[in-house]
Amino acid sequence: MTVAGHTSDPESGADAGRGDVLAPGRDEGRTERERREDVEARYGWRYTLGQLRRDPTAAAGLVVVGLVTLVAAVAWVDAVLFDFLAEFGVFAGLGVEQYALAKAVWTSPVAEPAGTPRLLPPVGLENQFGEGTLAHPLGTDHRGRDILLRLVYGSRVAIQVGFVAAVVGMLGGTVVGAVSGYYGGRVDDVLMRFVETLYSIPFLVLVLSLVAVLGARENLTIIMFVVGVVYVPEFARLIRSRVFSVREEVYVEAARAAGVSTPAIIRRHVIPNSITPVLVQGTLRVGTAILTVAGLSFLGFGVNPPTPSWGRMLSISRDYMIQNVWFSIWPGLAILITVVGFNLFGDGLRDALDPRLKN
């Protein structure tokens, strides 16, 4: 049971004392299926990947995750590199003016910067809430900007935030959990009480309070780090319990008995066998972080107005629901699909890593 406030990690010693309770000959008399599963529950990485490939839903998740990440990467490259390259005339004669225009549209707080080439139909307030057309497949928003394009650029924020928050949580959690698990005793007690306490403050409440006192309402960087930091307790607990159980594994004992030094044991045995659940949880947390940051943007925390983000788009769309329903549908779907992708992939990863959990 891993409810906050629970402190039931039996001391390693007491467990070793019950070492010989292990029932003899358990391997006997089980069905073929169970035997096979047991053989396969232990694996190399290659086996894991093989399993992942064979799971169609996990593969679908991987495709979604890959696509969204790719789109986000393109948007990122575009946002950062475009101006730089355009200055050197790289795009001259390539017909990229259209693109430049579109980009100007999303970066500009007003409808249309002066002097943009008019290759696309004029965008502006007269184009407000356009229906889906070939030029604007998903229509236009309250300022006449292309929704699809803004979704594409919004993916940049979502993906970035999701990955950064999950990685911050994983790294922070790994450090705290590993220190706690490795040193044990007092250090562990103190760290775990702290982690438990953080865990007892509802997630969003903690994020909001932290963001508020840091004065970071519109600072996306701080927000994504804060979200990551709030994930630390969860990962710390996960890793700690994992380290505790791996530390008790017989192969670790075997290495100790063979005289392998502690650092080598940690490097070669403990870490490689502890990180898999962390990776699974990390994948799932990318999705949760996207949801959380979308919620924060919706509440007005996060990116500054001209920069598109899905949560912000939804927040704005509230005021224009009567005029254009699609304006409030597309960003939500974008979030939904992305998060479904991460969840599918994470579930698939878990099944592949631990077939016994598979249902």
Binding site: A23, P24, G25, R26, D27, E28, G29, R30, T31, E32, R33, R35, R36, R54
Partner: protein, 391 residues
């Protein structure tokens, strides 16, 4: 001789996994007379547990009973016949063509009309006529209910008792299996019992329903020797008093010698030898049984050198062609790689002694075993499929 209580004929249970069809039980036949303890012995992966679960139709997905017949008295627990359109693929030299898909198999068996319905199985057979005891007493009791409650539920289901009377029968049965202070222990939860005590509770559970047959699936494997000894004594004593028949699944030849009247030796989904317990040990007819006996150390005398079976049991998903034991058999000859012998009577006085080995010429005249070339397994390393082949 009595009519048999239970008859199993050509029972087949396969598992349809992603990797292919695992022929866990592949055409076994045996019977159990009233008041008899019949052993089903073999190493892990031989298909013993699946076999006994098939008798009660308790095989779970992806496992399916795909053929054969199980009769209990005059009732058909399992009864399949081949589709009329089926090509006859069965026979002595059962070919092991790997490409059979569950759907595309031509001779897909269909249940016969007299096969008991699921609800009839539930009401008339399970618990009522045939009870089962599993290997792991820790896992077999529901941790959230009291031991007595579980016992009483089963008694109420399978006997004409209810309420107070069922409770009394339950307490009585707990006492019968030597659970001290039964009245009070009745209210305890399973985690308050030791492993040996839990196994006693399970035996009480089986006996309390007053079945004619108890299937015991490795009931003493998870227990310490002294506890095992006490349980074996208890079972023998109870068996004498209640006259219940047993199918006793085990991998331990010692337990077999101690408790069984007749024994079936399983190897890779098939029964390779079937005999009375004394004949099995002292007039062994199948090389596998012999090898098994040669490889166990004895507690009562010092055996200087063990004579183990070469190699490991192949996977049931990809059994060797011909006799399934031929890859490890010291007596294997060329013919063994081609023909898979069924279990035939080799000694016929009294209850027949059956063996599935071509070297018994009287039973397998067509095989011409002695004329065939020996393949000398002992020198030859076992085929290396996926890292298996222990020697």
């Amino acid at each position: 001789m009595h009519d048999p209580l239970l008859t199993v004929e050509d029972l087949q249970t396969h598992f349809f996994t992603e990797d292919g069809v695992v022929r866990a039980v592949d055409g076994i036949s045996f019977d159990v007379a009233p008041g008899e303890i019949v052993g089903l012995v073999g190493e892990s992966g031989a298909g013993k547990s699946v076999a006994v679960r098939s008798i009660l139709r308790l095989v779970e997905d992806p496992g399916r009973i795909v053929g054969g017949e199980v009769r209990f008295r005059d009732q058909t627990l399992v009864g399949f016949e081949d589709d009329a359109t089926a090509a006859d693929t069965a026979g002595d030299d059962r070919s092991d063509d790997p490409g059979d898909e569950p759907g595309s198999q031509p001779g897909r068996p269909v249940p016969r009309p007299e096969m008991l319905s699921e609800s009839a199985m539930r009401q008339r057979i399970r618990g009522n006529e045939i009870a089962i005891i599993f290997q792991d007493p820790m896992e077999s009791l529901n941790p959230v209910y009291t031991v007595g409650g579980q016992l009483r539920e089963f008694i109420e289901l399978n006997r004409d008792l209810s309420g107070r009377a069922a409770r009394e029968a339950a307490v009585e049965m707990l006492r019968e299996v030597n659970i001290p202070d039964a009245e009070r222990r009745y209210e305890d939860h399973p985690h308050e019992f030791s492993g040996g005590m839990r196994q006693r509770v399970l035996i009480a559970m089986a006996l309390a329903c007053e079945p004619s047959l108890i299937i015991a699936d490795e009931p003493t494997t998870a227990l310490d020797v002294t506890v095992e000894g006490a349980i074996l004594d208890l079972v023998r004593d109870l068996q004498e008093r209640y006259g219940t028949s047993f199918v006793w699944v085990t991998h331990d030849m010692g337990v077999v010698a101690e408790i069984c009247d007749r024994v079936n030796v399983m190897y890779l989904g098939e029964i390779v030898e079937q005999a009375g317990v004394d004949e099995l040990f002292h007039d062994t007819k199948h090389p596998y049984t012999q090898a098994l006996l040669n490889s166990i150390p004895r507690p009562d005398e010092t055996v200087e050198q063990l004579d183990p079976i070469a190699g490991v049991m192949p996977e049931a998903i990809d059994p060797p062609a011909g006799c399934r034991f031929h890859t490890r058999c010291p007596d294997a000859r060329e013919v063994c790689t081609r023909r898979n012998p069924p279990c035939r009577t080799v000694v016929a006085d009294g209850r027949p002694h059956r063996a599935a080995c071509l070297k018994h010429e009287s039973a397998f005249p067509e095989a011409d075993y002695w004329a065939s070339r020996p393949i000398g397994n002992l020198e030859r390393p076992a085929p290396d499929a996926r890292g298996d082949g222990d020697e």
